[in-house]
């Protein structure tokens, strides 16, 4: 334990004077003030809206109306025997989607980061693009490709192979899992790729020297070393799938598959009038499930020393030579990117140049139009939405990553009593379903003493509150791998906490920080579930604009805006990746 940490470990005291001395020692450390500030900010952001949701679940009246204490919402929500088979469906869906997304992400990350496969940089750059597309658009694209009636891929099979019926049916549990896993892959990719970038390949080289083949190295060395990142990505994606509503609404509903979120929608959020209290109660249930997974994650990663691979003894990740297999690796990465990026984007492009979507025929070529793009260039409402969203994405992601870096340093690196509290606090708002959390935020800030309701700042607060866990996971999985001896050396050389943090840890955490920043920027550019409740009518960001255009059946305009956002995000990702590479440090 370092001198700093010894001073910061506050044990129960026996005498007041002794306590005062300990408290004095605690408060004299700059790190203590950082800890207090981070806990204060994160605690407020997390607990304030959560309190309103808990309060809502225990009362029988909506916001602003004095109600009575009741457990009736809990009895109604959880005494229904139909709820439990649906929970099982959600569990299968969540497990399948997060598992498949990890397989896709691991394959893609390993090929692009650790091998000498050709075009790997381009693959790495494009792997994150799907994160910018609203999940609802990805789901719709896949319905257009794989629906059993006139899906484009099914149609191709029928035409080319003379089949009677296309082989794929998107309206099924495998279809649902497949589409959701594609939506979740970019997030898993970013987290796993950051961990792979920070890994010391000398361990792999040692294994090879001792006679292990490439597969053995991967199984016995690489995979265990990036286990925290895999678990982090798996945990995040599992919870994200379980609370997702968009994909089930589009694919599960026609397939007559019910999951827990469709039940929440029917009985609470989609009921008339919306039953806020019941929605909050279901939200609390999902929160409990999510927190169990956070606990499991922390349990799996508690032996942090086991994962430290970036030490002060010098490291420089380098590519594994795949020999002639490198082309096969590129082919596999390309296939994954066709599924993740190319096919949905091609469908979007098609939708963007058609007056209305239909299966293309020869007649289609005469009807192509650039009207939807013209709408993007000429409409002041669209320009204003781009400006608002860019501000929210850049500012929100930067604030989130500063907070996440400090919080993950305290959680992973120090022995401060109560440090694990931060992890729990950060996860609470994220673990609620998006719309339930938006209700909590609305209730919390509509009557806030500082008049931020109806301004852009409330959206910024909502983004930081809800999406901080993404940043935290991305940084934590990197910081776990950085050995303490580097900071200890810095402290021995006389540097204080802030200097060590700035000069040693931030450069070491850079891949994780930039990975988190990219995830957040891409999410903030298209977020709508919280934004919809909170934005003021004159300051519309892109998420609600896309949502309203979608609601009004303007798929062509949505696709055109989606494509422009993709281009902007690729530029931002390229910029961020340039600064995340070790070789640029």
């Amino acid at each position: 334990m370092s001198a700093d940490e010894r001073a910061l470990t506050v044990a129960p005291s026996t005498t007041t004077a002794w306590s005062r001395t300990r408290l004095g020692a605690f408060l004299s450390q700059p790190l203590s003030w950082v800890f207090i500030s981070v806990v204060g900010i994160v605690g407020f952001l997390s607990l304030y809206p959560t309190f309103f949701l808990f309060y809502g679940s225990l009362t029988d009246a909506p916001l602003g109306v004095p109600g009575h204490f009741t457990l009736g919402n809990y009895i109604r929500a959880y005494s229904d025997p139909e709820a439990y088979p649906l929970l099982l469906n959600s569990f299968i869906f969540g497990l399948g989607a997060s598992g498949l997304s990890l397989v896709f992400a691991l394959t893609l990350a390993w090929i692009t980061i650790r091998t000498n496969a050709p075009f790997r940089r381009i693959f790495e750059l494009t792997a994150i693009v799907p994160n910018i597309l609203p999940p609802i658009l990805v789901s719709i694209s896949w319905v257009m490709l794989l629906n059993p009636s006139n899906g484009l891929i099914n149609g191709l099979f029928v035409k080319l192979l003379g089949m009677e019926k296309g082989p794929f049916n998107i309206y099924s549990m495998p279809g649902l899992i497949f589409v959701e896993s594609l939506i979740l892959t970019p997030l898993a990719f970013l987290i796993v790729a950051a961990a792979l970038k920070s890994m010391d390949p000398s361990l792999e080289e040692s294994a090879k020297t001792l006679g292990s083949n490439e597969f053995g190295v991967m199984r016995r060395v690489t995979f265990p070393l990036i286990r925290p990142a895999i678990l982090a990505a798996g945990t995040l994606n599992f919870v994200r799938a379980v609370e997702s509503f968009d994909t089930p609404a589009i694919i599960a509903l026609p397939a007559r598959i019910e999951v827990f979120t469709t039940k929440i929608w029917r009985e609470a959020l989609g009921s008339f009038p919306t039953n806020h209290n019941l929605a909050a109660t279901y939200g609390v249930g999902i929160l409990v499930i999510a927190l169990i997974f956070v606990y499991l994650y922390r349990h799996f990663t508690s032996q942090v020393e086991n994962f430290s691979t970036v030490t002060g003894k010098g490291f420089r990740p380098h590519q594994i030579d795949l020999g002639r297999w490198r082309f096969a690796a590129s082919g596999l990465a390309l296939l994954l990117l066709v599924l993740l990026v190319l096919l949905p984007l091609l469908v979007l492009l098609l939708v963007a140049v058609l007056p209305y979507y239909h299966v293309p025929t020869w007649r289609t070529w005469h009807n192509l139009t650039l009207d939807h793009f013209r709408y993007v260039w000429t409409t002041p409402r669209v320009h204003r939405a781009f400006a608002n969203s860019l501000f929210l994405a850049l500012a929100g992601a930067s604030v989130c990553m500063i907070l996440a870096s400090l919080a993950s340093y305290i959680t992973v690196r120090t022995k401060i009593v109560g440090r694990s509290l931060i992890d729990g606090l950060v996860f609470i708002p994220w673990a609620f379903p998006g719309t339930a959390m938006a209700l909590g935020l609305l209730w919390a800030y509509v009557d806030f003493p500082i008049p931020i309701y109806g301004t852009i700042w409330i959206i910024l607060i909502a983004y930081v509150t809800r999406f901080l866990p993404y940043g935290l996971r991305a940084v934590s999985s990197t910081i776990i791998q950085v050995h303490k001896e580097l900071e200890e050396a810095s402290v021995v050389c006389g540097a204080g906490f802030l200097a060590t943090f700035r000069r040693v840890l931030i450069p070491m955490m850079r891949p994780g920080v930039m990975a988190g920043w990219i995830i957040l920027v891409t999410i903030f550019l298209r977020e709508f579930s919280a934004t919809l409740f909170l934005y003021s009518p004159g300051a519309e960001p892109l998420g609600p604009l896309l949502y309203f255009l979608y609601l009004d059946g303007m798929r062509g305009r949505v696709a055109a805006i989606g494509l422009v956002i993709s281009v902007i995000s690729i530029i931002l990702i390229a910029f961020a990746q340039r600064y995340s590479r070790w070789e640029t440090n």
Partner: protein, 336 residues
Amino acid sequence: MLRKAQLAFAFFTAAIFSAAPLYSQSPSLIAAAKKDGKVVVYGSLESDVADTAFKGVKNKIGIDVDYWRASATKVMDRALSEFRAGKPVVDIVLTNDNPMQIMYKEGLFAKYESPSAKDFTKESIDPNLGPRYRNVIIGVVYNKDIIKAADAPKSLEDLVKPQYRGKLVMPDPTQHTTTTQWVASLDKLMGKEKAAKFIRDLAAQKPILVESLLPAAERVATGETPIAITYVKYVYIYGQRGAPLDYVRLGKFMGDGHYLDLSAKAPHPDAGKAFIDYFLSADNMKTLAKAGEFVNRKGIYPPIPDADKIQFVEMYDLDSKAFAEKKKEYQQIFLH
């Protein structure tokens, strides 16, 4: 000379009156509205239709419209939450009958009798909410490229014939509130017994269930499913873009009414009043009809074939208890 002058005066007067706009408003209200600067509207009117109406507001009154578009339920949620919390942002709420009645009962609206309201028929004026400016009409829409007019269903009852099994898409009545209301109101068209049997037979056809009326229409436009229960106006809206859609002439069609009212705590009350006056004016009704809306003015119809022959039947207003019961009932019928 006098006669010439008289003729000139008569001609001049006639010219002025014939050129007078269909919409006229008190100059003092317009001046007060301009002082307010803008009007904030929460509504579920589709953005493109709303934009054409708001352009008129800008041209005629000279104020900007900040529009927050969402589903009817979300519009009500937000307006009520702000109202109860004492943080009113909205001036005008513009949405379906049921949520408007709930907001009225909560005291959200101020009484404003617009001079433009006198041009609506008595039947279309609700004592609480004022004129029902448009009807949203639900019918049976089909893709003409896939189903020929001769082979298309001729009535609602035809939908349950074996040849249409698996060819129908509709919003899930256990999820989508307007569809719950539509199914629950079918007895208005068929009588109780027939309606109960029709609902069971319809479920037995295993229609593809989607989240709302628009995705149902889209699936017909793309050709994924040939027939949909959806809004009739999509025949025009998608037809404008080239989609081969038509609708079954049912004679009587059920649907919902739309209203707009001024908030009792409107931050821009004069702008709100001027907005209502313009919105209900004949000028604006014509604009809305041109965009495909069934407005409640005699002789003004959307450019949809046989629109003038449609007989509108308003669906039942259901309270929250009735909605919950119906959704539960339809869950048993449609999902099991």
